[in-house]
Symmetry: C2
């Protein structure tokens, strides 16, 4: 079935256009009018309208009372089958709960996606230090504890790409010098956990450990985020590492977990 283009040739495939419509939604713009959706996806209004209607029919998009579009529950259902999303989260949850119960601090679980990380789960203590993360949200790899773990165990080309920069400086403590960052990553691999002390916000410290999959590869990172000065990283590391090992075991990882 042919897809007509308007207002000049749009050489993208229909699949690409459909995905562009989904891509129009962001954490800052979770609800969009047809016009906004068309503009953000670079589609003509009529193409956006027809594709959106098909997505609504299936349930990938929903319309609210004012006629605005938003991501539909049906898409969330299918996406819940992503092994690196809810699958990982389900396996990890008992260990994250335990970690939260014994510490009452922020607990985070993240995976790497390209040159960034995505938070898959977060348990935020009501009285714990506020953190900016959102489940499903992204962050850079070179500043957070989970990011440093994921970067330390990433393929060489990913490390090189990240180290080439730009490396955003969140605070004066963020390590943005490539040589220092490389040494830091080697240290993370050597000691088996990462410490981010004031490198994201000056008042927070995180300790993170790697989660390994069935083939021993690092598939995720788990961390505890506490207020700076409240605890020594070396004292937090064992409980974080124990949780990471528990999750690794639940994922079928062998005994070679470090």
């Amino acid at each position: 079935m042919a897809d007509e283009t308007h207002g000049g040739p749009d050489r993208r495939s229909v699949t690409a256009k459909v995905l562009a419509l989904l891509d129009a939604f962001t954490p800052r713009a979770p609800e969009l009018t047809l016009t906004q959706m068309a503009r953000r996806s670079g589609l003509s209004l009529s193409t956006a309208y027809r594709r959106a209607a098909e997505l609504v029919e299936w349930g990938a998009l929903e319309r609210d009372a004012e006629g605005r579009y938003r991501i539909g529950l049906r898409l969330w259902e299918v996406a819940s089958l992503a092994p690196r999303g809810l699958g990982l989260r389900e396996a990890a949850m008992p260990f994250l709960e335990d970690l939260y119960e014994v510490t009452r601090e922020n607990v985070q679980l993240a995976v790497r996606e390209g040159h960034e990380l995505v938070f898959v789960e977060r348990i935020a203590g009501r009285h714990a230090i506020p953190v900016l993360t959102r489940v499903g949200g992204r962050f850079d790899l070179h500043s957070t504890g989970v990011g440093l773990v994921l970067l330390a165990h990433a393929p060489v080309d990913v490390q090189d790409g990240v180290l080439r920069g730009p490396l955003r400086s969140h605070t004066p403590m963020t390590v943005t010098d490539p040589a220092r960052l490389r040494a830091l990553l080697a240290e993370v691999r050597r000691q088996g956990y990462a410490v981010s002390a004031g490198q994201v916000t000056t008042d927070a410290l995180s300790v993170a450990a790697p989660v390994t999959g069935a083939r021993g590869e690092v598939v995720a990172a788990v961390s505890l985020v506490v207020r700076m000065g409240e605890a020594r990283p070396a004292a937090l590391a064992p409980v974080v590492q124990a949780a990471a090992r528990g999750i690794s075991r639940a994922l079928g990882s062998g005994p070679a977990v470090r």
Copy 2:
């Protein structure tokens, strides 16, 4: 761009074919070979291959080390923007955690999707009675506590559709008689909570309450699932209703929450 069909005319649009590929994945089949994906979506191998390649390029699908396809993290990221999925879940989480902490029982959050419910969150106590639910999983509306709440507040045509049946009997306690079910739903609306006693499994009892949205409409249901005989429903109802009200308030619901 035209989409060729093979082995007979396939009149579905490209969008429908792309969505059919995603639909091929289920909780029982979260990883599929190309052949399985093509068969389940009713697409020719070559069409499935081309569409899947586009989905992989965008990140809606991923391939594992053995070349099998699975739902990708990128789709999960976009889907996390669904207001009725993670959005609701984020607003509800503190109240669900509180409910779990004071009871140590199973806590569930569900929304209605057509004639079924979808579990959006579940906190399972390690020592609580085992329940069969999965986040992102579906269940019928006429048996569980959350289902009865959602059905009691569903539009009339949805109620009529569900009551026309078939109504699956999980245990001898499941209410499958339309007239009795209608009376039960009226009771749920009247008392402000639902009780499912042995209607899903003979050993479990659940008490559920409605969560309302910004316009006062019921958007979700929260429940506590305990072992039969461990607590009286009337004793559990207030704590479940309090959690439901807290979530409703977080969603911007007015004071008219019942």
